[in-house]
Symmetry: C2
Subunit: 121 residues, 2 copies
DNA sequence: TATACATATGAATAATTGTTCATATGTTCA
DNA sequence: TGAACATATGAACAATTATTCATATGTATA
């Protein structure tokens, strides 16, 4: 039988299975790790960025080309590339006036494929 | 040399590399697929839902226990479980008044791990 | 050096979304 | 059947975010 007295400290909701809660809590990664993980997936959670990532998985591209491909403003694409850059999902090289972007990481493709597996299941 | 005349139809941004854009466009998955993919990752892109998923990867749990574990309102947890349910990431079984949730899919763990790989790289 | 061009960025706006509060639904048991 | 409890849900609010517009930065070349 769960010990109803020990739960007041946890939160105002009564806990039914104290041992399970404690066990799971013990094995939970650090708060910061889970936060970072959510932040990473948040970056994948936008159609525009997904399209950019998909495009870059096919070929290195410049900002201008991506804007044309996606029928979007150069500015909008650039703003999203900034987000992708901060998440270290894309890297870039400059050649004169043109900046070429490409995927920074081989995990990205795998995360993509796993996601597609789930959708097509 | 890119054909500057053919690009007006694409968008108002000049395209630098027409062949690349066309090649990438041809290989792009359907709009709907990429939309669904973004929607899936959007579900992963929230700290609360990540925590719930992580908890469920350790053990089946009821709503009440999750609320206690995460120090959150039962209502907040329930709302997020709804999102996870709609994304087919969790399933549930009812045992009397108590509803137990668990992961619906083995992909989830893999997506998680891939994400962690990226973070810890 | 001045102009043209590719890209980046700040501010503003519109849309989306997570949480809270109040309450409804569904189940058990006296 | 009615009270108690676990969960679900609708509406409202606050916070976050994607896009647009205007403009700045950086590079090449005439």
């Amino acid at each position: 039988m769960p010990n109803k007295d020990s739960i007041i400290e946890l939160c105002d909701t009564p806990v039914i299975h104290v041992e399970i809660v404690n066990k799971v809590r013990k094995d939970m990664p650090e708060e910061e790790t889970l936060y970072d993980l959510a932040e990473l997936f948040k970056v994948f959670g936008d159609t525009t960025r997904i399209k950019i990532l998909y495009a870059l998985s096919a070929s290195e591209m410049c900002v201008c080309d991506m804007a044309a491909l996606l029928s979007m403003t150069q500015s909008a694409v650039s703003h999203q590339l900034r987000v992708l850059k901060q998440a270290r999902l894309v890297k870039f090289r400059r050649d004169g006036k043109v900046v070429y972007y490409s995927l920074d990481d081989e995990h990205i493709q795998q995360i993509f494929n796993q996601g597609l597996d789930h959708i097509n299941e």
